[in-house]
Symmetry: C2
Amino acid sequence: MARTKEFDPDAALQAALELFWQRGYEATSMADLVERLGIARASIYATFGSKRELYLRALERYCEQSDSARLLDLSRPGPALPAVRALVRRYAVTDEEEGRRGCFVTNTAVELAPHDPAASRRVEASLDRLETLLTAALARAAAQGELPAGRDPRTLARMLVVLLQGIRVVGKTADGAPRARDAAEQALALLD
Amino acid sequence: MARTKEFDPDAALQAALELFWQRGYEATSMADLVERLGIARASIYATFGSKRELYLRALERYCEQSDSARLLDLSRPGPALPAVRALVRRYAVTDEEEGRRGCFVTNTAVELAPHDPAASRRVEASLDRLETLLTAALARAAAQGELPAGRDPRTLARMLVVLLQGIRVVGKTADGAPRARDAAEQALALLD
DNA sequence: CTCTTTCTTGACCGCTCGGTCCAGAAAGGG
DNA sequence: CCCTTTCTGGACCGAGCGGTCAAGAAAGAG
């Protein structure tokens, strides 16, 4: 009935996600996006509405991707504690470029959440989701006798969630890696 | 010999600090600063050079202020562990406005450090300083028998530094407070 | 008082920002 | 094949950006 889109909106969203993730919201201009996505300005607006809406869509996509990846990591049958440990350690060991980029949710929490309710809600949802997944894994660990007595899965999960956010912050600086690694190992000592 | 300044550069810097702290670098315009500082645009440029230099000066000032406050907190003679605990807890319990503002160093780490070497260096210096202060306090605690055997003060300090950064991140969202509180208490369990 | 020097003020600069518009291209239904 | 509909590309928009400048006001030295 009418002309079809020439570009793949999903690929465009992914490209936008990567740019916003790397540079943040304010520091990314529409001109940057036009260049990176390889499509015209008007097509971006026709497809995504506005810069802010595009950002929020990208954030949503990021959350979906990392949520499903973490669900996979933490829900494998068998021992639960090693999976938790592995996840925390993976946050702690990153190369410098990865560290500079950090976590898109963390970045959004700091840059936009304080004055953007929609962004804040998504950040909150993402943290909740991670906390829930970790709590479930730790509860499973407790049920399987992997956890010392007297540890509360939810409280432990909260500590880990907060610690992971901190790791993404200190990872932004040049020599953040050793700090992050030590911090992760020390926190994991609470699981022994 | 010549006309004297009519405004107090120190007060102006403090006002700029508060504005940058609240809104971040990119989201604060020179027009905002002119309005808030109550002095003319050109006077700001004559005194501080550029928006970026003003920001870095404000950051430096913030670091000096919080460093000396924390030095006072952590260097009081007597038991060292309660001071550490109190500091961590003070990070964890904040009202909503304080939470939204967060920590200026954390904010800078996320927004500017990845692409501004000068900002990155200052963030790093501030984290180093906090780590050093905490390490010293924990070493003192260990020497006074307040700490369980087998705990390394530096590693513990790194864990706390990272955790505090995380607290400042989750505090940005609406219901971050309970998460932060639980996380702090759980982490402090490592000091028992 | 006058001269020199610095500070203050607000108009002004070129540029980039996010966002819109329109003319033309392309695709499918009749 | 043509007509309707949507998409594309780029020129274009007003607003706001960071930064500069020139003219006048004020203060101390002589």
